[in-house]
């Protein structure tokens, strides 16, 4: 976009330790070393602020999970032994494994097959300030299901979880995860998306609140014709750490993925990290993929790290690309708007709103859209932009 001065991104300078295909995964927390902070997958994360989630902190409470299910959608609370759990993917880091090892109950939300359902909202409220909790959520969209699930994270405390999003053959699932945590909250989450044949997911991550939030959405394909759209929208204020690590694992032919994450940063110590991995395995002929990350730095003292990685093991693909740009406010845009009489603060808001507009427009739930517009407005009020 013209608003941003494009800088060379750092993927040329960073040599991945190994192919993404060789990343270690396990359900068992003890199979992972306690990270020290220098590991490739942890080097951007402020481990000291994670309340021990990475180093074996025991649960001291539990998060409240409340589901407002629409007609036809079933909700169950199940034990660890439910054999539907753990099928969408294996935890890819120590905190995800810790969450998998530690959760007591899981929530299972099932969208009925061959039917269209209204949006269902899952509200997760943290265990409270100073508390540690682990959780597990499974969303299943049955064959030819069509529907939306909003995940709404609120409250205080440290919370680690795995979210399984299983989309059966021919089903279409939209998931919007809104991280609207209180200022103290620490949240580390891995989303495991499993797409069946001709299935699609539209997955949007919104990160606004919390002290440190790290979300790792992983997409795997179980058949041909899968289509994944991953969107992210984040706004980091002074002192906040927001990290998003989407990984698309193309292992099946004729699948598609599109990743667009956009973030704004303002205030001293605001830090965002985006690591976008795409792996096209040898079998994934006919793959079409694109990933994009844009960051808009509104004030001094904020830092955005952006690393796209694209690994291609077959030449027989439709297309693959990535782009990353981090820029400051565009003075030419401000000048143009002001030259039409629009006061500077209003002009800034127009530009920031415009920056996010493309992503907000893709959210098909009007209440969520309005909430995000209001949240962006409130963020801009806060800095007096």
């Amino acid at each position: 976009m013209a608003a941003l001065s494009t800088q060379p991104h750092s993927h040329g300078a960073v040599v991945p330790v190994a192919s993404r295909a060789e990343h270690f995964t396990s359900y068992d927390v003890d199979a992972f070393e306690v990270p020290g902070g220098r590991e490739e997958i942890w080097r951007f994360t402020p481990l000291k602020r994670l309340a021990g989630l990475h180093s074996g902190a025991a649960a001291t409470g539990s998060a409240a999970v409340e589901v407002n299910a629409s007609a036809g959608v079933t909700v169950e609370t199940v034990g660890r032994d439910d054999d539907r759990l753990g099928k969408a993917g294996v935890p890819g880091d120590r905190i995800a494994a810790q969450a998998y090892t530690s959760f007591e109950n899981a929530t299972v939300v099932t969208l009925p097959g061959d039917a269209k359902s209204e949006p269902t909202t899952v509200t997760v409220t943290g265990a409270g300030e100073g508390q540690v909790a682990y959780g597990h959520l499974l969303v299943k969209a049955a064959q030819f299901a069509e529907g939306t699930v909003v995940l709404d994270y609120r409250g205080s405390g440290a919370y680690a979880e795995n979210v399984e999003l299983v989309v059966a053959d021919g089903a279409h699932l939209q998931v919007i995860a809104i991280h609207d945590w209180a200022d103290d909250a620490v949240h580390v989450s891995q989303h495991h998306v499993k797409l069946g044949r001709d299935a699609s997911i539209k997955h949007t991550v919104v990160t606004l609140g919390g002290d440190a939030v790290r979300v790792t959405p992983v997409v795997q394909y179980a058949g041909r014709g899968g289509d994944a759209e991953l969107f992210g929208l984040y706004f980091a204020d002074a002192g906040q750490h927001q990290e998003h690590r989407p990984f698309i694992d193309h292992s099946q032919p004729n699948c598609r993925s599109n990743v667009v994450y956009k973030g704004a940063l303002q205030g001293e110590g605001a830090h965002t990290v985006w690591i976008g991995d795409v792996l096209i395995r040898a079998a994934a002929e006919g793959t079409e993929t694109f990933e994009l990350n844009r960051n808009l730095v509104l004030t001094d003292g904020a830092r955005a790290d952006s690393v796209p990685n694209l690994e291609i093991e077959t030449g027989e693909i439709e297309g693959a690309g990535h782009a990353s740009a981090t820029g400051r406010f565009d003075d030419e845009q401000l000048f143009y708007l002001q030259a039409r009489g629009i006061p500077e603060d209003q002009a800034r808001r127009l530009v920031v709103r415009g920056f996010f507009q493309e992503l907000i427009a893709k959210i098909s739930v009007p209440e969520v859209r309005e909430r995000l517009e209001a949240a962006i407005e409130a963020e801009l009020e806060a800095v007096g932009a």
Binding site: M1, A2, A3, D331, E332, Q333, F335, Y336, L337, Q338, A339, R340, G341, I342, P343, E344, Q346, A347, L350, V351, R353, G354, F355, F356, Q357, E358
Partner: protein, 257 residues
């Protein structure tokens, strides 16, 4: 009776190296009802004059004054200048992704007029103004200038001119890059604005062809950062025939061959 008065204006461009002086003492007074053509070769400082008056942060005023009806323009912020009644139609209008043209126009009109226009009247007004400039109504929902062709951008600059109704309009090479039809449509838009009231126009151009459509009252030759000769229509005709060689020492045509 609006009057824009520029006196002994010196302007430098702010760059990473030492500032470079571009305007070297410009004197010009534009009164309501007058159209002044500023003609000059490339690099003479014509665009710098327009940007400096509008308040672009890249340009630094080192001395001189600019007043609009006696008010000190140089003391005003960019948006205050626009609200005071100055308008700059830019040579390279800026793209603003994600902001729709209709939202932008309404926000600008609200700012300039001091109150939000009545919605029903406003929709009609915009539709009519767009039709006058042969602009497809679909443009209203597109992002400001994003993906517009050069001609579409210029039409939208004149659309804004018509809607914001400034006291003094500065048109910076509005004719550049326009085909014959677009030049006619855009010129008609400027003439409608001129006919709408007691307004002043500063028409900056390299070529004489737009003067076939917009009649100037005064023609000024701009070279090396200042006005070097002023006259009437006949001066443009002379430039058409002889080019700028007399003022620059190098051969540069003022007419398209």
């Amino acid at each position: 009776m609006a009057t824009l008065e520029i006196k002994d204006l010196h302007v430098s461009v702010v760059s990473e190296d030492a500032p470079k002086e571009i305007l070297k003492g410009v004197d010009l007074t534009i009164k309501a009802g007058e159209t002044h053509a500023i003609m000059g070769p490339n690099g003479s400082g014509k665009s710098t004059l327009s940007y400096a008056i509008a308040g672009h942060p890249k340009y630094e005023i080192t001395s001189g004054t600019v007043t609009l009806d006696g008010e000190d323009v140089l003391e005003m912020s960019v948006d205050e200048r626009a609200r005071a009644g100055l308008f700059l139609a830019m040579q390279y209008p800026v793209e603003v992704p994600g902001v729709s043209m209709s939202n932008f126009l309404r926000t600008a009109a609200t700012a300039v007029r001091g109150e939000a226009p009545n919605l029903r009247h406003w929709v009609k007004e915009v539709k009519g103004a767009m039709a006058d400039l042969d602009i497809d109504p679909a443009f209203a929902e597109r992002s400001v200038n994003e993906g517009f062709s050069g001609g579409e951008k210029k039409r939208h600059e004149i659309l804004q001119l018509g809607l914001l109704k400034p006291k003094v309009a500065i048109l910076d090479e509005t004719d550049s890059g326009l085909d014959v039809d677009a030049l006619r449509v855009v010129s008609e838009g400027v003439n409608r604005y001129k006919a709408s009231g007691e307004v002043g126009v500063m028409l900056i151009t390299h070529y004489t062809r737009i003067l076939k459509y917009i009649e100037p009252d005064f023609v000024h030759v701009f070279a090396n950062g200042r006005i070097v000769e002023s006259g009437g229509r006949e001066l443009a005709d002379q430039l058409e025939a002889e080019g700028y060689v007399k003022y620059t020492g190098s051969k540069e045509a003022a007419a398209l061959s």
